[in-house]
């Protein structure tokens, strides 16, 4: 029930946007996430965006993880 998926915002009309993921397009409400722009990735839960995804943070998570696990693999 807390399932939420990342989607890319492709068009914004009032409180709604069109967002897509893997070829699936959906109408998504933006009431809970102000200042969304076209091209942003948001997490969508039950038809509402609940947060904007932070690409920089995602890259940092991956690079930290790769560093740590590579170090562990060398031990």
């Amino acid at each position: 029930m807390c399932l939420a998926v990342p989607m890319k915002v492709t068009q914004i009309v009032g409180p709604n946007c069109t967002a897509e993921m893997s070829g699936i397009t959906a109408r998504v409400r933006l009431d809970l996430v102000p200042d969304v722009r076209v091209g942003d990735y948001v997490i969508v839960h039950a038809g509402y965006a609940i947060q904007r995804l932070d690409e920089q943070e995602a890259l940092e998570t991956l690079s930290l993880l790769d560093e740590l696990s590579a170090h562990a693999a060398e031990e």
Binding site: C2, P6, M21, L32, I43, G47, I50, L53, E57, L65
Partner: protein, 386 residues
């Protein structure tokens, strides 16, 4: 590196190489966090660093789903015991809520709008699906906004959205109630069964019924709440907490972070899912939720009545409260005979310890809520063959 030679059973991992030089955001959010190589390396780290038996609870049903769907259990050492917590909203909703739903359905001008997961939950007198068979108008919606759209299109009927879910979902319901107010919609109602996560986590730790060494905290609840609600677990109760995402890499990294906290003899609330969870959460969503709902004592299947664990619609929004359409319900929130959902939700029993599991109780004909919901522990164990 001590990496298993074969991919995990049930694995849906997609083999992909992440392009370091020019990453596409969709590759980052989808493929990178399912990368089998990263999964193997993380699992190897966990095996290497686990210094002894540990019991961790994944609080959220969506985490339980990830663990089993991606076959992660098979990659983890047996000394790492994973317990499923009370984080499946449909499962913890007590029978008295379904009794209210049954009473609402008796009004022929009422249309019930529900998430699909609720349909098969067996109440004392049958499920929502049974109500539909008997003539009630029950519509499955994917969003509360859809329920309001139905109401605006058909003003002669009363549309009741069955508001089930934790902090992830409650702000949506709050938003739709405000939308209904803005649209002057007089035929839209919500039956709130919304609940919040930290009180049952406190109840579990304080009951002492099961020893939990750390919590994998719910990622999408935390998108809204931030990390503050779990601090009492780390600071007062000494329990390591990690807020994790739901892809296989997220879950394993979250578990590794919990193991490291224990190895370092510390307890803190850490965020693994930083791409989505900010320490302050989503203040706008929280503000909306607090404007429409107030916290109240609430019943949980398996855990009984927990102080200030439910979200009741405030008096200012009483016109949208479906509870005003029916008399108060006073039935015990107990399970049906033979079902051990109440024990499974507390982490003190596993589905295969239930006499009904897999024989009398299956996803198509569930006897208990934990088999009826896709995210229920019994349903997950049944579908993924554990």
């Amino acid at each position: 590196m001590n990496c298993p030679p074969t991919p995990p059973r049930n694995s849906l991992c997609i083999v992909s190489q992440w392009n370091m030089t020019n990453p596409d955001p969709s590759d980052i959010y989808f493929d990178s966090f399912r990368d089998p190589d990263r999964v193997c390396r993380l699992a190897a780290c966990i095996r290497r660093e686990l210094a002894g038996p540990i019991t961790l609870m994944e609080v959220c049903g969506t985490h339980t789903m990830s663990v089993h769907r991606f076959g992660l259990r098979d990659l983890l050492p047996t000394e790492l015991k994973l317990l499923s917590g009370p984080g499946c909203p449909v499962c913890v909703t007590p029978n008295n809520y379904y009794e209210q739903v049954r009473l609402l359905a008796q009004n022929r001008d009422v249309v019930l709008c529900s998430f699909g997961d609720l349909l098969r939950v067996p109440g004392r007198d049958g499920s929502l699906e049974d109500l539909r068979v008997n003539g009630a108008d029950v519509r499955v919606v994917y969003s509360p906004a859809q329920a309001l759209e139905f109401a605006l299109m058909d003003p002669l009927k009363k549309f009741v959205f069955l508001g089930i879910g934790f902090e992830t979902t409650a702000p949506l319901t709050a938003a739709v109630i405000e939308s209904a107010q803005n649209e002057c919609c007089g035929n839209f109602f919500v039956l709130s069964g919304h609940k919040i996560m930290p009180p049952p986590m406190r109840a579990l730790v304080e009951s002492g019924e099961v020893a939990i060494d750390g919590f994998l905290c719910p990622g999408h609840v935390s998108v809204i709440t931030g990390d503050a609600p779990y601090r009492f677990l780390a600071e007062e109760k000494g329990k390591p907490c990690v807020i994790a995402g739901f892809e296989p890499v997220d879950v394993l990294q979250g578990l590794l972070m919990l193991i490291r906290q224990r190895n370092e003899r510390r307890s803190a609330v850490e965020i693994q899912y930083t791409r989505a969870v900010r320490p302050e959460g989503n203040p706008k969503a929280r503000e909306l939720m607090q404007r429409v709902f107030c916290e109240s004592d609430d019943d949980w299947r398996g855990l009984g009545r927990i102080p200030l664990s439910g979200l009741r619609i405030r008096e200012e929004y009483v016109a949208y409260n479906a509870a005003q359409l029916i008399p108060p319900v006073e039935i015990p929130p107990e399970d049906l005979s033979g079902c051990i959902c109440h024990k499974i939700l507390r982490g003190i029993a596993l589905p295969n310890e239930c006499a009904l599991f897999g024989e009398i109780c299956v996803p198509d004909r569930p006897r208990g809520a934990c088999m009826a919901s896709q995210e229920g522990t019994c349903s997950i164990y049944y579908r993924y063959g554990r």
